[in-house]
Subunit: 413 residues, 2 copies
């Protein structure tokens, strides 16, 4: 836990800067306490899904805040491989260590460790690229079952607003969720109208300051449902997509190539199928534009086997840092004009439009009582702009990206 | 037409400022040409409803742009009272003069003249209060029937973004509209599944620069539907509401008192009923906050008689300038801090959330093909901001307004 300094949450007023409050080591103790940690200790560690990640609402009763200090690699602990792995996380995992250990081979355990690890990897890479800002870490508990860890960086050197959320939630699916799943073709046999479920995921949106550094979004999730007859349905979903202010073909090719390489290891059809799905999903219908230059997007992936799909998802999650950070490093010191910044702000407006009007996770989260709104709306940019009838000249660099958003291209073969 | 300089629409690039193109007097000629104006001439003048106003989508095939020059009162025209009245409008009315003249006593004519007049009154009052900026005027045509006049001022001395839209649309109701109307209790007998309708309204959102000048929104509309048996259903809807960044009780009392005075002339129950309706409608459910300090809101008003409801709506429309402009004049030169501006930007973020997530007109407009998106989204502020976990200190002036947004108060008896 050397990299974590857990703090209680105190916020200043209109200035909106976090004040650092008194130190709390409860969560740290709960992680390192071994067999003595009972159900009460565990509840402190339970962290629930942001509705964005899992399409599920999450009420929260307690949360703790931490600031990430510069990472120093933790010493190898004598307490075993699992504990050593957890020490690298941004916060204790949502499920208690004992339970994770007892169910080491279960897919839920494997996925929880993967999403916690992805969160930590991405946060560290972002903090290193930023060179100044630190992440605020909220570990929070969902009354209905589960919890979450939200990591947010605001007003850094490079990043305007960067959020990386983990959520692990369980309980019974809401009627709305059941209807939504059935509407997309799932055949679900309920128990007295109820369906026990477990859902977990990592979800992130990174908005940089420099208009030449694109925004990235990614989200990887796992779902399990237990039907009336005890049959367990499971599937994975996720994706990574890029939203540049201006088109830089080299960057877009690098981004797509990195994702394609991750996909190709697991199936030749994955990249073309999930690239198209991404272009179709991130469509701002009322503008006739995609939100960005795409990437990959998939849902309901349940074949050929749990292990094989997990390996594919793992490859995608591991591709986030290499597909994005080189673009950040390349452009973070690029000079830009006030006009570049203005165009970025107008594009941020479109980002807000997509997220509030179309994004299924956001819409569902907002509509469901008890949602943790701050985690859901963490995806919104720090600032955005709307001008009446803004239309760039046909040969401008603004029109160049608009053309790509209107007619998606194939970037790699 | 002395106050109108009609221009073709040309926009500069990322800077987003309007370029003035070559002069077109087609619309002006169409207004002043008398009997020679045929159906082709008329179509130029037809202007269609913003979906915000009428809850109806509006495709547009042509539009013209005009800048309002300082007003000089037009000379009394020998062509009659109706033409003289139209000369005061921001643009020619949507329906041709001849048709208006022929149906002088029809409620559709009376309402179209009222909304055009309201648009002009409000635009002139805003331009005078601003002291610098001029309105960009777009007269546009809806392929499916009708058209609209959008007046937008951006980056003025006082106003950041101010839009006043008129729309007059007719045709057949979409299935979605029929379902929506039935769902709120309307009993409608369709003709082969079709329902001819006419809808018109004026809709406006004014976002000032100074955080001590509140945002205002108003919208007054009239609806007619012809059922299978020839029976005509009609109703009025509308409202005016205020969204301050900080609470100034005197201003809020003045605003509500002016609206109450307008209501009280027509029915003692109107103000309390429509004040509550307003508080209930402008509710950002996921935040547990109202968008602002309310005002009045009503819909489906169809008694005691067409004429009496029209008179009530007219009083409300005439109350817009006196309920708002004195507040603008009082505060437009108030000093403010960067913290005040930041809080204003965070509140603008909430405004965006309400409009994109909840506002029925916006949602419906965005979902309907052929909508004139720029008129629908004209209601969004020029800029907005979202900070993760922003929470003002309990005794701050930011918390003072939040308390009122969380628990609406009665401002006048």
């Amino acid at each position: 836990m050397s990299q974590l300094l857990l703090l209680s949450a105190v916020r200043a007023g209109a200035g909106g800067r976090a004040l650092r409050g008194s130190c709390s080591l409860r969560a740290a103790r709960a992680l390192h306490g071994s067999s003595s940690r009972g159900s009460q200790g565990r509840s402190l560690l339970m962290a629930a899904g942001s509705a964005v990640v899992a399409g599920l609402a999450a009420g929260y009763s307690r949360f703790q805040r931490a600031e990430m200090a510069p990472r120093s690699l933790p010493p190898v602990s004598p307490q075993g491989e699992l504990e050593r792995r957890c020490e690298g996380f941004m916060a204790p995992p949502v499920t208690g260590l004992q339970e994770l250990q007892a169910n080491r081979a279960d897919m839920k355990t494997q996925m929880e460790l993967l999403i916690m690890e992805t969160q930590a990897e991405v946060c560290r890479a972002l903090a290193a690229a930023d060179g100044g800002a630190t992440f605020i870490i909220d570990s929070w508990h969902r009354t209905e079952g589960g919890g979450g860890v939200s990591c947010v960086l605001q007003d850094g050197n490079v990043f305007e607003k960067a959020g990386v959320n983990v959520s692990v939630v369980h309980g019974y699916l809401s009627e709305e969720s059941i209807l939504q799943m059935k509407s997309r073709g799932k055949n679900l046999k309920t128990k007295n109208g109820k369906l026990p479920f477990c859902a977990m995921g990592v979800s992130s949106v990174i908005h940089p300051k420099n208009p030449h550094v694109p925004t990235i979004h990614f989200n990887y999730r796992y779902f399990e449902i237990e039907e009336e007859d005890g049959n367990k349905q499971w599937w994975f979903g996720g994706g990574t997509d890029l939203t540049p202010t201006y088109l830089n073909k080299q960057d877009v090719v690098h981004f797509h190539q990195t994702l394609k390489d991750a996909c190709d290891k697991h199936g030749a059809g994955y990249y073309p199928q999930f690239k198209k799905w991404c272009d179709d999903y991130f469509f701002i219908k009322h503008r006739g534009e995609r939100r960005g230059v795409g990437g990959i997007f998939f849902d309901d992936l349940d074949s050929p086997s749990k292990e094989e799909v997990f390996k594919f998802v793992e490859s995608c999650a591991k591709a986030v840092v290499p597909c994005y950070i080189p673009i950040v490093e390349k452009h973070k010191n690029d000079s830009f004009s006030p006009e570049d910044k203005l165009w970025q702000q107008l594009r941020r407006g479109r980002y807000v439009e997509f997220n509030l009007v179309y994004d299924r996770g956001t819409k569902f989260g907002l509509a469901t009582p008890g949602s943790r709104i701050e985690s859901i709306l963490m995806s919104l940019p720090l600032t955005a702009r709307w001008e009446y009838m803004h239309s760039p000249p046909p040969d401008s660099k603004e029109a160049e990206i608009l053309n790509v958003l209107r007619e998606p291209k194939d970037w790699v073969q």
